[in-house]
Amino acid sequence: MEDQQGSAFGFDGTWREYAPIAFTNLLLTIVTLGFYRFWATTRTRRYLWSRTRFIDDRLEWTGTGKELFLGFLMVLVLLGLPFLFLQFGVQALVIRGFAGVAMGTGFAAFVLIFYLGGVARFRAVRYRLSRTYWHGIRGGSDDGGWKYGWSYMWRNVVGMIPLYLMVPWAMISLWNERWNKMSFGPHGFRCNARVKPVFKRFLLFYLAPFLLAIIGVAYVATIGGFIGSVFLHTNYPPVIAAIALVVIIVGIYALLGLIALAYYAAFLREGIGALRLENLDFQFEATTDDWLKLFFGDILLVVGTLGIGWIFLQYRHWKFFITHLEAYGEIDLNALTQSTTRESQHGEGLLDAMDVGAF
């Protein structure tokens, strides 16, 4: 099937149409002290997916609020109870002088979170694919992500050892590993993203230590403070000093944000560009400029509406994602049969709890 308009993906939602969903979600989330947010997420996704066209028909989101809620409960029991014990147990241990044991249990908890964080990233993509239908067909994975969790740990650790130089390798190889285990219908995704195209952008991060040093010096120069045992005084009036400090800190954060944005743009371009499903090749064309516009648009929207605009961010991000997503090739509808992967029954519980995105 060839597409007539030149773009395989399209988004035709409007914020007017989405507003009633966003505002009623906000209302119900407030009056339920946040419990409605699982159903709110589901309603939002149902709308966004239904306004997303791929070739000749729309996507459909079939996830439910109940399964997200069950996932949340599961996390509460699986992680919450041990952590509750840990929280009070560690306090007691430290007070009683078993600092070593306390550090040991603390470290074990850290490793557990690290591992589950990897598993959660895998399962989030799996969950989203398994609840996304197109032409009555869904995606998924036969893998539970437990092995990926180990991979996630050791690759990230190895990536950090040589002064973080191998972090891009860790990220790209994990991306490939994850997507190579995903499928849609009967077809497996294939992904062979390379490190080289993102590495130069990553090197920009090495400016960060210099920026931090600048913060330190600027802080001392404007406020006064101890360097070693020397106390520095300043003659600037406190207001000027405070303003200068704020400008410097905001500036440096902005610069760090820009570097992160530039890297992320390159990363997604390479990651999605290397993705293939049977005879379909994907592409993601957002440039750093596009990301900047999205980012500053977000800030303007939220600040300009005194925070209310926050409820439209999910809409904006999805629209951004779909508008820049592209696919080439063809699909054989007869061969695109139903996925035989198992459907996970408990949403994105782990990921929800750890507050990380799926992509």
Binding site: W39, E60, Q87, I137, L333
Partner: protein, 371 residues
């Protein structure tokens, strides 16, 4: 009845055109060269999708869909088709606004119960349970309690004076250079050595002790513990890292009202023990540079360097016990000019108490506190 629909069978991605033909309980789909069904109307579910088409799924058949233009639904068919689920659950049944009002009342009740529950529950928790819990959590404070014959005797004298009924199970001095004193679970009070060094007279220590005794008698520690427990359940229990928890326990927050009640207890106890509340008022003033009599004379000379350190030290105490002008005034006003107060300790006893940690050779050294 009949209608033209589009159809996905959920087995492959082909989009079929079909004729829906049915009676009162079920229907069949008839395509160009195929036929499927019968399907029960009751097994259909309406999807909440924007757009011109009404779309329906079938129970237990993932991906199975039929759709037809909203305005092409014959009247007879419309009655048999299920309604859309929009907000979910009972909200669709009773309507958004009614449901919001009901949910908001439930939420308000839940918040009220949640906020005040620790205060009701704490007094009901058996004291022996709290004592065991406190002993399990605190133990011997990692060997950091200071003891010397003279110092311990002085501490005993001060304890007997301010707490004659022995409401606290133990009052100890810990070899930690923070300006702090805490009431821990199990009716145990710990004064940090830093506070003794910072205090200018035993009366100030008596005031702080009286305040912590107030927390013990009102069971504020148990209430705060319950509140923290509730919070960690709500927040999923994974916001605290291991390192920050010791601080969380040391500065369990009791709330403004409980702090005020504890101050009133302290004043009552000092009156009963005939100890002047003025030094304690002065202590609060020193801990809070913004209060009158302190801020104005502060300079930037070399000699004043220790003041800066004092302020950093005071932050420990302020974090858990926000000082304020009203608090200072409360103690200052409690001073009765016609009365002759007796010092909380004799000078020799006060010296012994202040030097107790420094002269105790067995106590765990300062640096070993695992924060």
């Amino acid at each position: 009845m009949e209608a033209e629909v589009w159809h996905y069978d959920g087995r492959n991605a082909n989009r079929w055109g079909a004729r829906l033909a049915g009676d009162a309980t079920s229907f069949r789909l008839i395509g160009g060269s195929w036929e499927s069904g019968p399907y029960a109307w009751a097994d259909l579910a309406a999807l909440d999708l924007p757009g011109a088409d009404a779309v329906f799924g079938l129970k237990e058949a993932p991906g199975w869909r039929i759709g037809l233009p909203q305005d092409a639904i014959p009247d007879g068919l419309a009655a048999l088709l299920p309604r859309k689920v929009r907000y979910g659950g009972f909200i669709d049944r009773i309507g958004l606004w009614k449901a919001s009002a009901v949910l908001a009342s439930i939420a308000a009740l839940a918040v009220f119960v949640g906020v005040s529950a620790p205060g009701w529950i704490a007094p009901v928790v058996p004291q022996s349970f709290e004592d065991n819990l406190g002993d399990a959590m605190v133990g011997d404070f990692g060997g950091r309690f200071c003891a010397t014959p003279q110092g311990s005797a002085a501490l005993k004298a001060l304890t007997t004076r301010i707490d004659p009924d022995a409401n606290a199970r133990s009052i100890e001095v810990a070899n930690i250079p923070m300006v702090n004193a805490v009431a821990l679970p199990g009716r145990r009070i710990v004064i940090f050595d830093g506070l003794l060094q910072q205090a200018k007279s035993p009366d100030e220590v008596a005031g702080v002790l009286g305040h912590e005794l107030g927390h013990v008698e009102h069971r504020d520690t148990m209430a705060a513990l319950l509140r923290q427990l509730g919070l960690s359940v709500i927040l999923g229990g994974m916001n605290g890292t291991a390192g920050s928890n010791i601080n969380a326990l040391l500065s369990l927050s009791y709330g403004r009202e409980a702090e005020h009640e504890a101050d009133l207890t302290a004043i009552a106890k000092m009156r009963a023990a005939n100890i002047s509340p003025l030094p304690t008022a002065d202590f609060f003033r020193r801990m809070e540079p913004a209060l009158p009599g302190k801020g104005a004379k502060r300079g930037r000379n070399k000699g004043e360097r220790s003041d800066l350190e004092d302020e950093a030290q005071a932050l420990n105490w302020l974090a858990s016990h926000p000082s304020s002008a009203s608090r200072y005034a409360l103690f200052a006003d409690a001073h009765d000019t016609r009365r002759t107060y007796a010092p909380a300790l004799q000078p020799s006893e006060w010296r012994a108490l202040r030097t107790m940690c420094a002269s105790d050779k067995k106590v765990k050294p300062v640096g070993a506190f695992g924060l």
